[in-house]
Amino acid sequence: MNRQVAIELKNISKSFGSVYANKDISMCVYQGEILSILGENGSGKTTLMNMISGIYYPDSGHIIIDGEEAVISSPKDAFKYNIGMIHQHFKLVDVFSAVENIILGLSGSSILNMAAATKKVKEICDKYGFVVDLNKKIYEMSVSEKQTVEIIKVIYRGANILILDEPTAVLTPQETQKLFSILRKMRDDGKSIVIITHKLHEVLSLSDRVAVLRKGEYIGDVETKQTNEAQLTEMMVGKKVELNIERSEPVNTVERLEVKGISCINRDGIKILDNISFVANSGEILGIAGIAGSGQRELLESIAGLQKLNGGEILYHDPKTGFTENLRDKSPVRIKELGVRLSFVPEDRLGMGLVGNMDIVDNMMLRSYKKGKSFFLERKQPKNLALKIINDLEVVTPNENTPVRRLSGGNVQKVLVGREIASNPTVLMAAYPVRGLDINSSHLIYNLLNKQKENGVAVIFVGEDLDVLIDLCDRILVICAGGISGIVDARSTTKEEIGLLMTKTNRGDANES
């Protein structure tokens, strides 16, 4: 095939301290193709793309564009070579409109011609089929709309090579399909699209070619047509992996936690939780699905006693005594004193669940340091617990005195989940516990949750990957804009059904489709 090379990388290396993020990587991106960069977290995908888009500068190696070596030491340089990157975290000014954000920072004549700019942006939208209200302010937009603005912004600057870093992580299945059709149109227009992802089914349905990275090294690339899920996984992980989650039937379920009509209004007067009611049973995994930021965090934090509520109650049925406690507006300490064994794996691991600069032992102590009347700390038990977790969950660490921030994402999560499970909970809440984890670690966490369920714990699992939610949970609660839009049986539901519920509000102000 006579394909035109858009960008060529030669022997690119980049290290952070003693860790190689990228090691001697050589690869090509062709014009008019969609290339997936596939790899587990920490395999160096984002680092590699950041070097092309000018965020990092390679330690060694060359980037060649049009036969000439390109020096890309800032995002501005990248635009000079018509390279644009859409990052996972959007970089938009909230109080500006879409158009204002798109033209922001471009030089031109000193008088701003808004009408002409809007016209040009509109042309781009029509050409590729973007649907977005250009005069809408960013803070009024949904995540998917914001992403659209980011993409238009990059194209407006003349990018021919578009790099998207995990673009579907925040989208519903429907929005993902829309994005894919736009990306295909762009490819047909001769643009090169590079998409960073670790979701296999997306790779297979979207891309023309797949390049696989593992531990910072380039494993190889294959035509999508000639490959399958099993082969890609093997390339990614380096060995064959079993991808099934074993789900047992719930036994002896009793009502453990009963949430009754809770509402919560944040500082800006916006309802973040709107009359939420559900029951979590023992011996069951209750999944919570929803677009990121629909109130999942606030819901879990209300149960954990970290969020002030404006209405409703949270009832805990104690399995030992048979008493019922109302946990509403009780502090975490108070809840613990009541004998409620509630464990919580928060979304923000290093910012909330753990202390990054402390070692594993001291992090174990977070839950238990208050025990006893002594003025001094007791480090012996936490140390034993740390050693046990390192051993049982195969945490990769030099020793138990390593600060947790030095551990990789998966190991950080093992430490956190391990600590939370160690207290023998009756209710276990986990928010995005596998975010950023590789396939093996993810399955280890699923197994741990399943084991807790079999032990009769009421497990609440907030997830983003619908395939996993459907495979792992018993029931799935779908949350949308702070309200419950449905509770479905995980064994009989479909991804599409959940996707629809995710965007359907009971107030009827969203895209009812």
């Binding site: 003693s18 000439e68 070596e69 975490p332 909330m352 700390l377």
Partner: protein, 369 residues
């Protein structure tokens, strides 16, 4: 190589993070920084003053440790600076920017002097000295308590608040110095009665203060590292979110820690007034409340490392005075030298954590072609 590769656009230098160098190698980098600083200072000395840098350095050393008396003065300076550094450390570890140590120590000193002045006639010395100590602790603690209450309950900015409290303390001392001055209006207080000076151990009047601070150093180290309260301070400092998540009462920890911080500052004021100066004036603390912040940070909040960092600063300070008098230079020049040395030491931390990579050499380039 099919295409001619031009590489001359590559930036001359770029910076890369490396694994932090550990232990003695880091110390070596720091020692190297001091040597480099001395070289730069030497060149500057020749340039600006036409003096022989060796003789300037020798007067620096002589000024600091030239006679036994000077060594004791140096150790005492070290002790007081260390005491205030120990005081600010829990607050800074909690990420509470207490820049009010100056004022907290000063009110401690004022309380000590006041006790000696007004209770001196009614209480015996062995009873009054503990009273002085308690009064200074209470005064310092109150000076720490006020900004912490505002911070904990209403989220006010502690940096500005503690800074303002300094001025209040200074003005308060000026006021009392004026009102009770002898002779009236001179603005100077009469030294407190010799009966109420801190005990002299052996024949050295500074030894008590030095030993006192040494004990305090050990206590602070244990408090921060092995006590539950010290642990809470670390957690709150690292992440308020984590602290709330595990059920630490953050407000309580902030207030408690600042009371401790202020109280130890008060003790520093007590040691200075009762053990060394025997009087109080608005410049009694002499900026140590601010220098202490640097001492604490340079030592990365480790009380034992602080002995070294406060030694360094006290040493340079004493030496600088000697340079100024010996060579008939004004204070500014010795302060330049102190500044350069500290700048190099702080700068060396960068080289411990990062490496600077230069553009590839010509030789390698040639091999590529």
């Amino acid at each position: 190589m099919k295409a001619k590769i031009k590489s001359n656009h590559e930036p001359l230098i770029h910076i890369a993070k490396k694994t932090p160098v550990q232990g003695w190698r880091a110390m070596l980098v720091r020692a190297g920084a001091i040597v480099a600083a001395l070289l730069v200072c030497g060149i500057l000395t020749v340039f600006l003053t036409d003096l022989n840098p060796i003789s300037v350095y020798s007067s620096l050393i002589v000024g600091a440790i030239g006679t036994p008396r000077r060594i004791w003065v140096l150790l005492h300076d070290l002790a007081i600076l260390l005491c205030i550094s120990l005081a600010v450390t829990p607050a800074f570890k909690m990420k509470f920017w207490n820049i009010g140590a100056e004022g907290q120590a000063l009110v401690g000193g004022l309380a000590t002097a006041a006790c000696a002045m007004f209770l001196g006639n009614s209480l015996p010395p062995h009873f009054l000295i503990p009273v002085m100590l308690i009064a200074s602790i209470v005064a310092g603690a109150i000076w720490g308590l006020i900004p912490s209450i505002f911070k904990a309950l209403w989220g006010t900015n502690e940096t500005l608040f503690t800074l303002m409290m300094n001025y209040i303390a200074i003005q308060l001392v000026s006021y009392f110095c004026f009102v009770f001055s002898v002779p009236k209006g001179s603005g100077r207080l009469e030294p407190i009665n010799e009966k109420f000076w801190l005990p002299v151990i052996g024949d050295n009047d500074y030894l008590f203060n030095i030993l006192f601070v040494l004990v305090l150093t050990v206590v602070m180290y244990i408090y921060l590292k092995y006590s539950k309260q010290g642990y809470e301070i670390s957690v709150v400092g690292e992440s308020v979110n984590t602290a709330t998540y595990i059920g630490i009462n953050v407000k309580k920890v902030i207030i408690r820690t600042m009371v401790i911080s202020g109280a130890i500052c008060g003790i520093a004021g007590f040691l200075l007034v009762a053990g060394a100066n025997h009087t109080v004036a608005d410049n009694t603390i002499g900026g140590r409340g601010f220098t202490a912040i640097m001492v604490s940070w340079l030592a990365k909040f480790n009380p034992f490392s602080m002995i070294l960092t406060s030694l360094l600063i006290a040493f340079l300070d004493r030496g600088a005075i000697e340079i100024a008098t010996q060579h008939k230079l004004n204070d500014s020049f010795s302060e330049i030298i102190t500044g350069i040395i500290i700048f190099f030491i702080i700068g060396s931390e960068f080289f411990i954590n990062y490496s600077v990579k230069f553009r590839k050499s010509e030789k390698k380039e040639a091999k590529n072609k």
